[in-house]
Amino acid sequence: NAGVTQTPKFRILKIGQSMTLQCAQDMNHNYMYWYRQDPGMGLKLIYYSVGAGITDKGEVPNGYNVSRSTTEDFPLRLELAAPSQTSVYFCASRLRQGTDTQYFGPGTRLTVL
């Protein structure tokens, strides 16, 4: 199993551009999450999904959109990129709720100039 994979690893955007961060997992996990990590701020939840076709907002959803058309994929869309979206983005998945292990991808480092 590859686990949780994310592409791209690095990206530089200009203000106002759009892009999609890709996330895929091959563990047949129901739950998937998107977090952002800013220096010294820990991780904050952007969006999450409990299954294909079901998504909901987390703590910091503004400026982002998600979709979950399959169990495996959970892309994060940035519309009209802003400097405040400069961050490292992590995708994660878990099999079910409760105390199951949450597996994280390697992250995407995004810079908006």
Binding site: Y33, G42, F90, Q97, G98, T99
Partner: protein
């Protein structure tokens, strides 16, 4: 909004020393997890504590969950350079199906162990 305050934010020690990292909140969590993160990688789960007062040991690492389930600590005995990294605590709130596995993270503690 639930908050987790982690301290200290930075810790720089010599090999062989002991250290403790604290994670505190005014909110009750159903469980608390500790993660370790290396540069350029995602966090990796170390342990989950569920019961108030619970103590778990992972080799030289000891994790404790407070009696009221509002705080936790990570103690490392005889730290080694390989322990260097970012340590994150994360709380899971809501019993059963109410939390959907959403985690609230502390700010993290950057630990550097010098040889």
């Amino acid at each position: 909004t639930q908050l987790l305050e982690q301290s200290p934010q930075f810790l720089s020690i010599q090999e062989g020393e002991n250290l403790t990292v604290y994670c505190n909140s005014s909110s009750v969590f159903s469980s608390l997890q500790w993660y370790r993160q290396e540069p350029g990688e995602g966090p990796v789960l170390l342990v989950t504590v569920v019961t108030g007062g619970e103590v778990k040991k992972l080799k030289r690492l000891t994790f404790q969950f407070g009696d009221a389930r509002k705080d936790s600590s990570l103690h490392i005995t005889a730290a080694q350079p390989g322990d260097t990294g970012l340590y994150l605590c994360a709380g899971l709130s809501g019993a059963g199906g109410t939390s959907y596995g959403k985690l609230t993270f502390g700010q993290g503690t950057i630990l550097t162990v010098h040889p």
